[in-house]
């Protein structure tokens, strides 16, 4: 019977399971419209009890002797689960492979990269001091670029490599664009030189070259230098066979503390 309120339904089952005359009378008085349904429920319960009770279900009276049986496994064999699992895994792998092969990578949105260099950062709110006297100014850190700008070009470390060039050309090259005005004195022997300097400032390079190739460097001030050949060194600048000894290898430190790389020089 459809459309029965659940509480009435439960009540009907309860009365049908314990059909005392009092309960039946009360139910009939309260729900006369469900009287026929109540009778049907009682019939159902009676039938169910007859079905499940062994005394009324054709049960044999004698108890058979206990016989040990070969009990079959309760579920399907494990091999079935294994095969099923492997099949599912294979199907899943194949589906994934097929799907990922078909799928094209999503197009990336064309957004130009704009560096946010000049973007204004949010400013902090102004600070209002309660004390009438302003706080002492904090020392502003000196920017390293400012220090670098104050240093003359010829004192900045640099690399300089020349191979098989004349001494005059090498001196011109080493002083070019450094702010040094080099003036060579008379009697300069224009020999072929090879020099290699790394991370050495120009003045140190000039002094080292002077030491090696037999001339004297004189600082005249204001970036003016004078190169004067040394006449009383017969085996120095004029000796084409000169090979720098290990002790002559400049291994001094620059003003900035940078170690001079081993220069290789030779007369040709």
């Amino acid at each position: 019977m459809k459309g029965l309120p659940p509480e009435v339904d439960r009540l009907m089952w309860a009365v049908a399971e314990n059909p005392t005359p009092t309960a039946l009378d009360e139910f009939g008085q309260r729900y006369p419209q469900y009287r026929s349904e109540m009778l049907r429920r009682m019939e159902m319960v009676k039938g169910l009890r007859s079905e499940v009770r062994p005394q009324q279900a054709g049960h044999r009276s004698e108890i058979p002797k206990f016989q040990m049986r070969e009990v079959s496994p309760s579920g399907p064999p494990r091999g079935v689960f294994l095969v099923a699992g492997l099949s599912i895994a294979a199907i899943a792998a194949a589906s994934y492979t097929a799907f990922s092969g078909m799928r094209t990578p999503p197009a990336r949105p064309k957004v130009a990269f704009v560096p946010r260099v000049n973007e204004e950062l949010p400013k902090a709110p102004p600070i209002y001091y309660r004390n009438p006297s302003p706080p002492p100014p904090t020392p502003q850190p000196v920017e390293p670029t400012a220090v670098a700008e104050q240093t003359p070009q010829y004192l900045k470390p640099r690399s300089f490599h020349v191979r098989n060039a004349s001494l005059m050309d090498a001196l011109s090259l080493v002083t070019a664009n450094t702010g040094i005005h080099l003036e060579a004195g008379p009697g300069f022997v224009n020999q072929s030189v090879t020099v290699d300097y790394d991370n050495v400032d120009t003045v140190s390079i000039l002094r080292d070259m002077a030491k090696q190739f037999g001339f004297h460097i004189s600082d005249e001030g204001g970036g003016n230098f004078l190169a004067i050949p040394v006449p009383d060194e017969p085996n120095g600048a004029l000796n084409a066979e000169h090979v720098p000894k290990p002790s002559q290898t400049p291994d001094t430190e620059t003003r900035t503390g940078t170690r001079i790389a081993t220069p290789q020089s030779s007369f040709r």
Partner: protein, 189 residues
Amino acid sequence: MKVVSVAFEKTKPSTYDEDIVLVERFLAGDTDVFSQLYAKYYEKVYAIARGILLDNDEAADAVQEIFTLVYRHLGRFDRRSRFSTWLFRVAVNRSIQEARKNRHKSRNVELNEASGQTAPDEPEALDPKVHAALEKMAPQDRALLTLFYWDELSLQEIAQSVDCNVNAAKTRLYRARERFRTLYEQEEA
């Protein structure tokens, strides 16, 4: 004084459990005591199996299998519940498994015997509509109805036998009853 002590003894809860003693003896090596457990619970286990399987012969076979399982695995009985409850749970589970296994087989038999030559071995007192409705139900629902209308177990014991709590057992029982009613009414129509 003697009367008082006797009265006191009567009020004391009985902690003696004959089943546990038999189980302990069986586990200690006295396998002959199993026949006592078998004789004591054969009828009840048969009732459960028959209520779920709805067939006398299948139920008789199932009972032998159930007691075989109990014989082999009695060591797994953890004594947290009564032995009878544990036994009924084994009976319900095994009968449900058998019912699922036999469902396909019984359908084939029905098709072969559709010529009307069936010889019902059920007593005529049984309501064929009830039987038909029960046959259409799931074995789990049949197990609940069997345990409930058998009228020998409390709701707590029914819940333990079907491995759930009392509230779940009530809910499942109500639904099983409603399904039975629907099927019964279909049989009437």
